[in-house]
Symmetry: C2
Subunit: 298 residues, 2 copies
């Protein structure tokens, strides 16, 4: 799988570069010189396992051995600009060995416990309440199996039917070129996943979400994951440019800060990547880069 791993890693980093360049171009169009600031981090084997305590009790499996031995690392890229109040883009490529007990929980890891993972994850919080927030994440995981997962979802403060239609159409287009079942399945999965049961409300307007995608044709699955990234790069900048020059009211800004509170609630209470990452010694700054710059619970 070494060639495939390299291709995927290069793709995620290349997609990151293109997304960052596009967001910087949007900043310039609005007269801002804001650019992404990058920070390289390495997974430190010595930092694993995390210090278990009463908040963070080991599961019965984790208590008996190291969660995994780590290698690899990543790069965080953060832009704080005029259009994008906080845009964070992470790429990371990590590898290691799950503890014997942990292996049962990961597809294809039960025999050797070895894994490799690479991906891109981004969250963009726009300054204007008229420009929607967005999330994108795609990744490739290799154990004895090899699969892709990811998705993208849009979180507007002010619902906009045209935006919603175009956002969904972009991902439907990406899906339909691969399998007519993908879009309905992955859209429904997204709606289920990005939902706050304690509020009985969705996080945003959805998008697509998929995981464990392994059709048996790696090249096809990789092409689909690239298509998801391309769909994002096509549609999100269009939505931003559609709204970024619109004036907004204080009431709209206040509503945005409340909506962001729901985003925080989702990420800290339910998002698996966030809670799993924080509780297994992941890079806190990279994981919590998704949290909005200003939030209110009035």
């Amino acid at each position: 799988m070494e060639a495939e791993k390299d291709q995927a890693k290069v793709w995620f980093e290349n997609l990151r570069d293109r997304i960052c360049a596009e967001l910087e171009a949007i900043e310039r169009e609005m007269g801002s010189e804001a650019v992404f600031v990058r920070n390289v981090w390495q997974r430190n084997a010595a930092a694993v396992p995390p210090k278990w305590d009463e908040h963070n009790p080991p599961s019965s499996s984790e208590a008996t051995g190291q969660c995994y031995e780590d290698g690899g690392g990543g790069v965080t890229s953060v832009l704080k600009g005029k259009v994008f109040e906080k845009a964070g883009v992470n790429v990371s490529t990590v590898h290691g060995t799950f503890s014997p007990e942990f292996r049962e929980r990961i597809p294809g890891a039960s025999a050797t416990g070895q894994f490799w993972a690479s991906g891109i994850s981004l969250v963009i919080h726009s300054r204007s309440p008229r420009v929607p927030a967005v999330h994108l994440n795609t990744r490739m995981i290799v154990t004895e199996k090899c699969w892709f997962g990811g998705g993208a979802d849009l979180t507007p403060t002010i619902p906009d039917e045209e935006d919603a239609r175009d956002f969904h159409a972009a991902f439907k287009g990406a899906c339909d070129r691969f399998d007519p079942d993908y879009y309905p399945r992955f859209k429904a999965w997204c709606d289920r996943y990005f939902f706050l049961p304690h509020r009985n409300e969705p996080r945003g307007i959805g998008g697509i979400f998929y995981d464990n995608l392994e059709t048996g044709e790696w090249a096809k699955d990789f092409a689909f994951t690239r298509a998801v990234g391309e769909a994002f790069l096509d549609i999100y900048p269009r939505l931003v440019r559609r709204h970024m020059a619109e004036p907004w009211t204080e009431a709209e800004r206040a509503a945005q800060l409340v909506k962001r509170g729901r985003y925080v609630e989702f990420n800290l209470l339910y998002d698996r990547g966030t809670t799993f990452g924080l509780k297994t010694g992941g890079n806190t700054e990279a994981i919590l880069m998704s949290l909005p710059p200003e939030v209110s619970w009035p």
Copy 2:
């Protein structure tokens, strides 16, 4: 236990009234007419069990039956003022029956599953970064056992040695009148509990935390829990008055909003009352009243 239940319930409500009156008095001293706004809520048996979904999967025990049948309710009291940006005080008294499977996890509930609980919970977010935030919670739980639990902890933005010394001394005084072991035990418990492992930092400067307090002398345990409330009512207003007229800088305010972000992270990632409450169909507005009015993750 009916007389004891009544005494505890009346105490918690009376403490609430005295705390609210004191905070309103502080507002008036600063020229504000802000008062607490009360909202009565009832536990709705029909709303339990919560809708399980993929974020909120039932445990193997919970999947097989209702978590509990509910009765009772509570009152939220919220003040948004000049000194106190958001002060939320909840009292609630609820009762019911745990499902057979759930009973094993609660002391004294294994036979009949019946429980009764009453308590007060408050979180105060001051406007000034020079006035510390604070949390207090005390409660009485009855199953076949009967115990008290609770605690208080202080979260300053700007460390102040005199405040810390006086806050700790107030609770040490309350503890020492009952048992010389209480203070060292309950202070250490607080330090362990209010800690963010993913940040490797404490939430604030601590205080005391205790649970399952059942010495065999109900009157003594109740008196201790009252002493904790009295200690709070003695010390916190003194700390507020000590600092409320001090000017503060933009940098101090910015630091306060970041500190509040840590508070949010703790409450949503680790606090048992919050996460258990939200995931078992508790009153969302009452539970999340603890979240700060303005927060930032810069």
